[in-house]
């Protein structure tokens, strides 16, 4: 019924309603195997640790600050803030920073959260610790269910000058997933069909995500991380406290964390790494990337998509050769609204919120021929000041447009 015309849909709905009515008259609802005990809950997705995207750009209002954002737990329906707008207190959200130009991280910034107290409007407390500055704390923004989004809480640590914002936000990513999946399917079937991209629908429009945004003084990075080539890279990683959700043999050891997910350059993990190796990729290191552990799979995917050696080389240079980091030049000026939009300063130089990263990747996948997904911007505007990411979408009445078409 979901794919039928309106007219057929109405007939189908009538027919369904009639059959349900008849059923309910005799048998108000039917039982599902209550006598069978084999219907236990299935394997759960570790949503809290499920990374979406990593962003890294110079603050367009003040290029002496570097903004790093990780988004996790996506596809949150507006209004589902009670349980979903909460950071898991057993997850470590890690910003891995690379500054020396190789594939090894040179510094970590870890963010963990206090357990959410469900009664009342108590905010969670984020603890921000690092290998290169003293630990401090910051409060999250509590989500609400009213028509107006809550004001974003931004905390600036006086000692380091680092600003932090964490909470529920609009999902800043924009991309047509069905179009891309169908395009990939057509290529793999030997009949590439770019018309799949004519849909131009943003699969992320209307949804919220959790996000952690940091504003880092460039001077702090330069002084503590020995930045080479004026470039800093970011790889985001989530890890779960050992012994929570799953029991592992090492759970009696000192508290530690087990890697769950990571994200650097967009699409490398999601689109270019085959399903069969995603788990392995998620827990591997950026040094593993550089050592070529997944290069064969990524090259195979690109080759299957028809990408030539030159462009495979370019994409590999961005995401493989020196590890899957999104890297930004600290000397390339960034300016403009919504986190910056000036030409030649965006992805693959870092990643700004408004950069159409999918079109850029498709451009190289298609051997530098124009190939676009026709989703060119986010469904809601980004903000002009830190944390730049849009306020969360609030509950809406049924039938109100969800902005999936740009």
């Amino acid at each position: 019924m979901l794919q039928l015309s309106n007219r057929t849909k109405k007939l189908g709905a009538f027919s369904l309603a009639l059959s349900l009515l008849l059923t309910l008259l005799v048998f108000p609802a039917q039982e599902i195997g209550a006598a069978d005990h084999g219907d236990g809950p299935g394997v759960s997705i570790d949503r809290s640790a499920d990374l979406n995207d990593a962003y890294l750009f110079l603050d367009p209002n003040d290029n002496t600050k570097l903004v790093a954002i990780m988004t996790v737990n996506g596809f949150i329906v507006p209004g589902e803030a009670v349980n979903f707008g909460v950071f898991d207190h057993n997850i470590r959200y890690r910003f891995e920073l690379e500054a020396s130009g190789d594939a090894a991280p040179d510094g970590f910034i870890d963010v963990t959260f206090s357990e959410k107290i469900r009664s009342g409007a108590t905010q969670q407390t984020a603890t921000v610790s690092s290998t290169f500055f003293p630990t401090f704390t910051a409060l999250t923004t509590n989500p609400n269910l009213s028509a107006t989004a809550p004001e974003t809480v931004v905390t600036t640590d006086q000692g380091t000058g680092i600003a932090v914002a964490a909470g529920l936000f609009d999902d800043p990513f924009f991309f047509d997933i069905p179009a891309f999946s169908r395009f990939v399917g057509s290529v793999l079937a030997g009949q590439p069909n770019v018309s799949h991209f004519n849909r131009g629908r943003d699969s992320f429009a209307g949804y919220n995500t959790l996000a952690i945004a940091l504003s880092l003084p460039v001077s702090l990075l330069r002084s503590r991380l020995s930045v080479a080539n004026n470039t800093v890279g970011l790889s985001c990683r989530t890890a779960r406290r050992n012994g929570t959700i799953t029991r592992r043999p090492t759970r009696f050891a000192a508290p530690n964390f087990i890697d769950v997910d990571r994200e650097g350059v967009p699409a490398v993990n999601v689109a270019l790494t085959p399903f069969s190796r995603k788990n392995e990729y998620n827990t591997a290191s950026t040094q593993d990337d550089a050592a070529g552990r997944f290069a064969g799979d990524i090259v195979a995917t690109l080759t299957a998509l028809g990408t030539n050696q030159t462009n495979i080389g370019i994409l590999a240079g961005v995401a493989v050769t020196r590890g899957d980091f999104v890297r930004v030049s600290l000397t390339t000026a960034n300016s403009g609204p919504g986190g910056g939009n000036n030409a030649n300063a965006g992805f693959p130089n870092g990643r700004r919120l408004g950069d159409d990263v999918i079109d850029t990747i498709l451009f190289f996948v298609a051997n530098q021929n124009a190939l676009r997904d026709n989703v060119n911007a986010n469904d809601v505007p980004f903000r002009d000041t830190f944390p730049f990411i849009g306020a969360p979408q609030q509950p809406r009445d049924s039938g109100v447009d969800d902005n999936t078409r740009n």
Partner: protein
Amino acid sequence: MQSKSCFAKLFALTLALALGIGCASSSASPTSATPPAKPIPAESGEAAIRFLEDRVKRDPDDFPALNNLAGRYLLKLRETGNLQWLELAKRSAKASLKSVQAEQNPEALHLLAQTEFAAHDFAAVRDHARQLIELENRKAYPHQLLGDALLELGEYEAAKKAFAEMEVRQRGGHSTLIRQARLAQLTGNNERAQRLHSDALQLASEMVPPEREAVAWIRWQLGETAFSVGDYAKAEIEYRDSLTTFPNYYRALGGLAKTLAAKGDVNGAIEQYRQATAILPDPVFIAALGDLYEAAGRQAEAKAQFALLEKMAALAAANGEVYNRVLAQFYADHDLKPEAAYQMAKREYDARRDIYGADVLAWTSLKAGKIAEAQAAIKEALRLGTADAKLFFHAGMIARAAGDKAVARDFLQRALKLNPQFDLRQASIAKQALAE
């Protein structure tokens, strides 16, 4: 001993709560503490469903939204047992696969397989699980799905292997522990099952966002395991905890009713079953409510319940074979339609050769006067060594009909020792048979 340790646990729990400290579980595992029951707030499930339905109306090819929607329908199905959610889930999963095929969209195939499981089409689940293993071998869920299907099909060794593969991929997750607990139950180790469920509860309670139905299900299952060994005090606590987590959870309402009946609280049991059947007219609940009315001398109300079951049987026949087992069991329990019940059980067992299918075939064979077939079937039902009072009772009654008094006495004694009030009607019959 069981009761004593249960009271000790309860006392410890009360003391720990009073002192405001964590409570260690009475389970033998030192690793788990059964978390105290607390309500888990419901999310705006209906609003989210409307949001997603609107979305797929606008874009019928939005397969991530279709998958999300199918998952929410399936959760509603689990929460309510109402089959209308199953049909909606199936349509969404199929629409998702129509938009993007399984190779690029394995989640939709997983969802479709879950609808097949709910519809008891276990052969289809098995086949789709194998396809998913090809696509996502490194993940735990295809192996879980395969194991679940094989278990229902009675292919226990293969199921065990599938769960071992699952365990390799998700060591000690709550869904893994639940499967291990099921294997333990089937092989007669109820104590281990209880321990594993306690561990599973601890782990499921740590999920963020919380999984209300999963937590309530595990608490209900803890109640079921306690009931199965005759520990009605513990069972009642577990069922009530499940209802604290998830008010009006139909499985827990049914479990609580069964427990109150076992404790002799007929009116309390009637009230709980009335609540349960108002939410979900489960044939098991309706049959039990009819038995309770009969026990209370309320014959007219008992007849009304049994008449309702007959109507449901007619409807079930039109809906396929999902209810065959339950109805065959009901007929045999109440000495009704022996041949029809036998035929239903036989059809069911031909398609699905698990031990409980063998048990229903044995029980209906006995009632249909097919003693040799009953003996063969009950042997199959007992082949794993499952410690289940109902199986023992059926074995005892079959041996009695075959004239083997010693074996009959042994099985009937085992049934009543393990779970003295395993069934309001049948436990009395067991006692009478033993007294003769």
